[in-house]
């Protein structure tokens, strides 16, 4: 286990692996190559998460870089959502959750005693698996975050801007006072994205944002993410490997390991540029997963 990130020097691997042995056809969309000079905003080192006695995630180390989309993939129970929820301290809400190791966010220890999780979440927005708009109007859904953060400019402009960025403005501009629940599932999820970016976050975390949506709505969310990448850094958890291949710049592959005690625990197998993970993975387990041999 440990940090495989350090071992996986991509240059080395190209020499030793046979690219043709990977029977996977994945179209990787056109996008800017992840530049090595994108600074890391999250530096995760030796992250462990326990839920009570259950060791959910073991020794995860990776970096999330600015203006990139980082995908966390892996089978159910591999701890990818748990890792995601460490980034904005959402795990604090689960009483039995215990986080150890270090997550540095812009160099600050995110779990340091002086850090206020409420402030963390204003910088690091989140979009959840099931669209979960507030049972309020569309406008109020977007305006709530800025309002409690003490936003003093024109709220109307801010709402319009957030909804425009979330590619929802044209569909809802005439019914801003209408209930958010009157929207379709895909629209609700884009509203949740608008809500997340209305507080001008630095990072947007997405926990399987399209898993409850139909393929067309899913594609719209994916298109949207490519645009959002210009302004935000995105971390997305997904079950859908094609989705990870289509949208992300880097991919972290997690899987489930058996500990000596017989308990299952989530581990990071490989973390690399998405193109490498999907065409030339460094680990057999990654290859097995992305080629559909398990999981």
């Amino acid at each position: 286990m440990g940090s495989r990130v350090a071992e996986s020097k991509p240059v080395l691997r190209l020499d030793v692996r046979d690219v043709a042995s990977v029977p996977m056809t994945v179209t990787i969309g056109e996008r800017s190559e992840p530049a090595a000079d994108h600074p890391a905003i999250f530096d995760v080192d030796g992250l462990n998460v326990h839920y009570g006695d259950f060791h959910a995630v073991k020794d995860v180390s990776l970096q999330i870089r600015k203006n990139e989309i980082t995908a966390l993939i892996g089978p159910s129970g591999c701890g990818k959502s748990t890792v995601l929820r460490c980034f904005n301290r959402m795990n604090d809400l689960i009483e039995i959750a215990r986080v150890s190791g270090s997550i540095r966010y812009h160099g600050v220890d995110l779990y340091g005693s002086e850090v206020d999780p409420v402030q963390v979440r204003r910088h690091i927005g989140m979009v959840f698996q099931k669209p979960n708009p507030f049972p309020k109007s569309i406008y109020d859904n977007v305006a709530f975050g800025p309002k409690i953060a003490g936003f003093e400019g024109s709220m109307d402009d801010l709402v319009e801007e957030a909804l425009t960025k979330a590619a929802l403005w044209d569909e809802v501009k005439d019914k801003l006072d209408g209930s958010a629940y009157a929207l379709s599932g895909g629209q609700q999820q884009r509203l949740c994205i608008a809500r997340a970016i209305a507080t001008s976050p630095d990072v947007v975390l997405m926990d399987e944002p399209a898993s409850a949506l139909d393929p067309i709505a899913t594609l719209r969310i994916e298109d949207l993410m490519q645009g959002l990448k210009e302004d935000y850094s995105i971390v997305i958890v997904t079950h859908n490997m094609q989705q990870a291949a289509r949208v992300s710049d880097r991919t972290a592959f997690f899987t489930v390991d058996m500990e000596q005690t017989g308990q299952r625990t989530g581990v990071l197998v490989e973390f690399d540029e998405t193109s490498k993970i999907f065409t030339n993975p460094g680990e057999t387990r990654t290859e097995d997963y992305i080629t559909g041999r398990f999981g």
């Binding site: 904005n88 959402m90 809400l93 009483e95 409420v118 402030q119 963390v120 979440r121 204003r122 927005g125 989140m126 959840f128 099931k130 979960n132 708009p133 507030f134 049972p135 709530f144 975050g145 409690i148 953060a149 629940y181 949740c192 809500r195 997340a196 209305a198 507080t199």
Partner: protein, 318 residues
């Protein structure tokens, strides 16, 4: 494959099996016995109502609204429920003022703030137990504590009243219905999906902001319904009031001011029913008591209707 002639005509078998409807005497008897049970329950209720209405009808026919607006007198021709109605409404207001904030606050703490440990569960279990404690026990508590307390802080009224007033009654009944308010409010809070809380925390809201802006508005219909039902319960209570010294005889509040009404002797609607049903004059027992019961029932029915309307109007679909 079997030859065509040997092939089984599956469609014919299916067609035949569809016609297997049989008469089941056991099932029918069961259904009928359930219906009988329902009818018996309804019959009891209808008999009760018919008895009350037939007794009360002459009173309302002869005196109309005058019965409601007249105070208690010794004369069955002029006696009315006004004193009792005022006492009951006064008690209900005090109950609402005390039990609603206390109950809601306790429920919010238990559901939203308290750690999920054995102590919290112990407290929750015991609140449920408290809701099942016989009301007479609360009467004893009220007599031992609240009547004296009210008298001690100078709100006991005259020496003869000595704290046996609406204030003490309101506090006692507030404590009586408090567990009901806490339980219904807790259930309403628990019914708010966690996804709403996560959404609130996700945009950087504090716990208080999540509770204030999202959880409470979503839980409001349930909380209000529970409170109205708790008030209805307090409105109909008799036993604890008897213990803490409600006036069962005749008295005149006259033109007493608000303060004197709160601190002086009082009576309540169910207590009026009780005292009238024990009068020697048969008119009290046979007509006035049923009429007072009818007034009580109308008030309770209105309260329950209000609770249903509140729930229907503000209930949200997730």
């Amino acid at each position: 494959m079997a030859s065509r002639s040997e092939a089984i005509d599956t469609a014919a078998i299916v067609r035949q099996s569809l016609h297997g409807r049989r008469f089941s005497p056991g099932g029918l008897a069961f259904e009928l016995s359930l219906l009988v049970m329902l009818l018996v329950s309804l019959a009891v209720l209808v008999t009760l109502l018919a008895d009350i209405i037939s007794g009360a009808l002459p009173v309302f026919r002869d005196r109309g609204i005058d019965f409601v607006t007249s105070g208690i007198t010794l004369d069955s021709a002029t006696a009315g429920v006004w004193t009792g109605l005022v006492g009951s409404v006064g008690i209900a207001i005090i109950v609402a003022v005390i039990a609603f904030p206390l109950g809601l606050g306790a429920a919010v703490y238990l559901e939203e703030y308290a750690p999920d440990n054995s102590l919290t569960r112990f407290i929750q279990t015991n609140i449920r137990n408290l809701a099942g404690v016989p009301s007479i026990v609360y009467g004893l508590l009220g007599l031992a504590v609240f009547v004296r307390l009210v008298d001690l802080i100078g709100l006991g009224g005259s020496a003869s009243t000595g704290g046996r007033n609406i204030l003490a009654a309101g506090i006692t009944l507030a404590v009586l219905v408090l567990p009901i308010v806490i339980i219904t409010a807790s259930e309403a809070l628990r019914a708010v999906p966690d996804t709403i809380r996560e959404a609130g925390f996700g945009v950087g809201a504090t716990r208080w902001e999540v509770v204030r802006h999202h959880v409470l508005p979503s839980a409001a219909p349930g909380v209000l319904t529970g409170t109205v039902l708790a008030l209805a319960r307090a409105f109909g209570e008799t036993a604890p009031l008897l213990v803490i010294g409600v006036a069962t005889g005749f008295f005149s509040a006259g033109s007493a001011g608000l303060f004197d009404r709160l601190t002086g002797p009082y009576t309540a609607l169910p207590v009026v029913v009780l005292s009238w049903s024990r009068q020697a004059d048969p008119a009290f027992k046979e007509n006035l008591a049923p009429a007072a019961i009818l007034v009580l029932l109308v008030v309770l029915f209105a309260a329950n209707t209000a609770a249903v309307v509140l729930r229907n109007r503000y209930d949200r679909k997730w």
